[in-house]
């Protein structure tokens, strides 16, 4: 059973990692649920991870505006064992 390579929490219990610490394919891949916590019969495919800095969210009908957002833009492809299907393998239109 694979164990994620996690960044340890600091002595205060806060999690002090930066975006670049968490936003890479290896770290994101390690965060995928595995072993007993995985979904039965599900097979992971390609993983992508791209940091985005200082992003602004314009107000919409369902949320107010927000600025200065830093986040990791992630895609994960997978299929179901024996079904020859594939979820999320297309290119992202964002």
């Amino acid at each position: 059973m694979k164990q994620p390579l996690l960044i340890a929490a600091g002595a205060s219990g806060t999690f002090a990692a930066s975006l670049s610490n968490i936003c890479n394919v290896d770290y994101i891949t390690d965060s995928l649920p595995s072993g007993d916590s995985a979904i039965q019969g599900l097979v992971y495919g390609d993983v992508t991870a791209q940091p985005v800095y200082n992003s602004s969210v314009e107000a919409g009908n369902n949320y107010p505006a927000s600025t200065g957002n830093n986040f990791c833009n992630v895609t994960v492809a997978y299929s179901h064992a024996g079904k020859n299907d594939a979820v999320s393998v297309g290119s992202i239109e964002s």
Binding site: P4, L6, I7, A8, A9, F15, A16, A17, S18, L19, N21, I22, C23, Y27, I28, D30, S31, L32, P33, S37, I39, L42, S55, V57, A59, G60, N61, N62, Y63, P64, A65, S66, N69, N70, F71, C72, N73, V74, T75, V76, A77, Y78, K83, D85, A86, V87, S88, V89, G90, S91, I92, E93, S94
Partner: protein, 490 residues
């Protein structure tokens, strides 16, 4: 699957699952950004169709060969998998087991929210669900009802005539909530107070325009200037759309739209240059695709109404119930496990929605109440229901958006769900904001249904009152055409 994970300093221990609209299972970045606003990791899925994929374009492997795996994936499974994986990733990425999980979506995205709440009791701590496109068996064919009715009487009205009836309704009913603001905020009282037949003989005049159908998203032909007086057939069409279809034995087949709703784009005819008259328009794209692709399993997006009557429509609804009861209909009414798991739902629906009938949400919640609290009094059962599931009818709002200039919209609805879940702030009245017009930014409060707004005197805030008996009964029509109770699968 597609996720946004905030940088650790901006992360607040939340995961948000998001859904789509129409026949799409996601809203892309515009959905995910709703998580960033609240410090939540957010996710969506393409359901195996590729980004931008629409169910109807993928659901047929060939004529007569429906892809049932895809139906199940779209119906509930893909969002569930995306959520399970996204929640686990959130715990692992931020190295913290403490996690609140939420859902937000409107229209088809609202149906997808219910598909999760009904099945996976402990998956979400809270859900913000708008105008859900559930009961697809009825919802989709109902798009075709205006054209079916018009064909049966051999008449299609102009947009201008229909808008005149809407405007007369507004004039008659605006003040019924005690405040004249250009909004019918008591459609229940309006139904008792105003008969659209009173609009017959009123004159209308409109300049020429290019039409736009918000349901199909397409632009129609340029409509010439229209001048005339509202006639009996204009009102007959208006009422057929507002009341919803009745079968040939005059039994109520399904609900329509609330008084005050502008249904002119649903029912307006297409002006013919050759005849100089209005002819029955093509049915909407989604109303055609449901019949041809999802029911008939034919790879065509064009629906002919030749020979189609209200009995055909009834048959389509019955067929849809049987075919999609376990997937796309999404009207399971026993929410006991979700309640016991501590989950909360804020469900809202525009009072002037002309795409998904507001009553569709009302009759679902009513059936949940009847199923879960069969022995309690009305007031007691409401109190129990409102401990975890509240419905809000948003005055003046259209489909998943504000409409009336002075109308507010629950822009921060996810914030209200979060407050309810994390801080036990019960949304007795739901926060809303005027998002347009001269009063942009003004705060408003939406009553928990069935309580409804009423202004008195110089009060700066409306009360939320229980409607009188007749007005209350208006919300729960008896649908007696189909052998199964269309309110749900009790």
């Amino acid at each position: 699957m597609w996720y946004y994970f905030p940088e650790p300093a901006q992360y607040k221990g939340r995961f948000l699952a998001t859904g789509g609209g129409g026949f799409a299972i996601n809203s892309g970045a515009s959905g995910l950004m709703g998580g960033l606003v609240y410090g939540a990791a957010a996710g969506c899925t393409d359901g195996g169709m590729g980004w931008g994929g629409q169910l109807n374009n993928f659901v047929l492997k060939g004529n007569g060969s429906l892809d049932y795996d895809l139906i199940n994936n779209f119906g509930y499974l893909s969002i569930h998998e995306m959520t399970q994986i996204g929640k686990a990733m959130s715990r692992n990425i931020y190295n913290s087991s403490k996690l609140y999980s939420y859902y937000q979506g409107c229209s088809e995205g609202g149906r997808e929210g219910w598909s999760q709440v009904q099945r996976y009791a402990d998956q979400f701590d809270g859900a913000a669900i708008g105008a859900p496109a559930f009961r697809q068996s009825h919802q989709q064919p109902n798009h075709d009802w205006p054209q079916i009715y018009e064909q049966s009487i051999g008449y299609a009205p102009s947009t201008c005539a229909l808008e005149k009836i809407v405007n007369e309704t507004l004039a008659a009913c605006d003040a019924l909530d005690g405040k004249v603001d250009g909004i019918v905020a008591r459609s229940d009282l309006c139904s008792l107070h105003w008969d659209p037949k009173k609009a017959i003989g009123k004159s209308y005049a409109c300049a020429s325009s290019t039409s736009f159908n918000p349901i199909t998203g397409g632009s129609g032909a340029t409509t010439p200037a229209a001048n005339g007086t509202v006639n009996e057939k204009d009102v007959a069409v208006f009422l057929a759309v507002q009341n919803g279809p009745y079968d040939s034995q005059n039994r109520h087949l399904y609900v329509g739209f609330l008084p005050g709703t502008d249904t002119s784009s649903n029912a307006a005819g297409t002006y013919s240059e050759t005849t100089g008259a209005y002819e029955v328009a093509e049915v909407s794209d989604i109303g055609a695709e449901w019949i041809t692709e999802l029911l008939q399993e034919v790879n065509s997006t064009t629906l002919s109404l030749d020979g189609v009557t209200v009995e055909t429509l009834r048959g389509w609804m019955l067929e849809g119930m049987q075919k999609y009861a376990g997937t796309l209909n999404t009207v399971w009414t026993d929410l006991q496990d979700f309640n016991e798991a501590g989950g909360k739902v804020i469900h809202y629906h525009g009072e002037a929605d002309n795409s998904i009938p507001t009553l569709s949400s009302v009759i679902y919640q009513e059936q949940v109440r009847r199923v879960m609290y069969p022995d309690a009094s009305y007031e007691d059962s409401l109190e129990k229901l409102h401990e975890f599931y509240r419905l809000y009818i948003v005055p003046g709002a259209a489909h998943c958006s504000p409409s009336a200039e002075n109308g507010s919209f629950p822009q921060t609805v996810l914030g209200s769900v979060i407050e309810w879940v994390e801080n036990e702030v019960v949304p007795v009245r739901l926060n809303a904001t005027v998002l347009q017009g001269p009063n942009e930014g003004r705060a408003d409060k939406i009553c928990t249904f069935p309580y409804r707004p009423m202004w008195s005197g110089d009060a700066t805030e409306h009360e939320c009152v229980m409607p009188e008996k007749d007005a209350l009964e208006f919300w729960f029509p008896v649908l007696d055409s189909l052998p199964l109770n269309s309110y749900g699968n009790a």
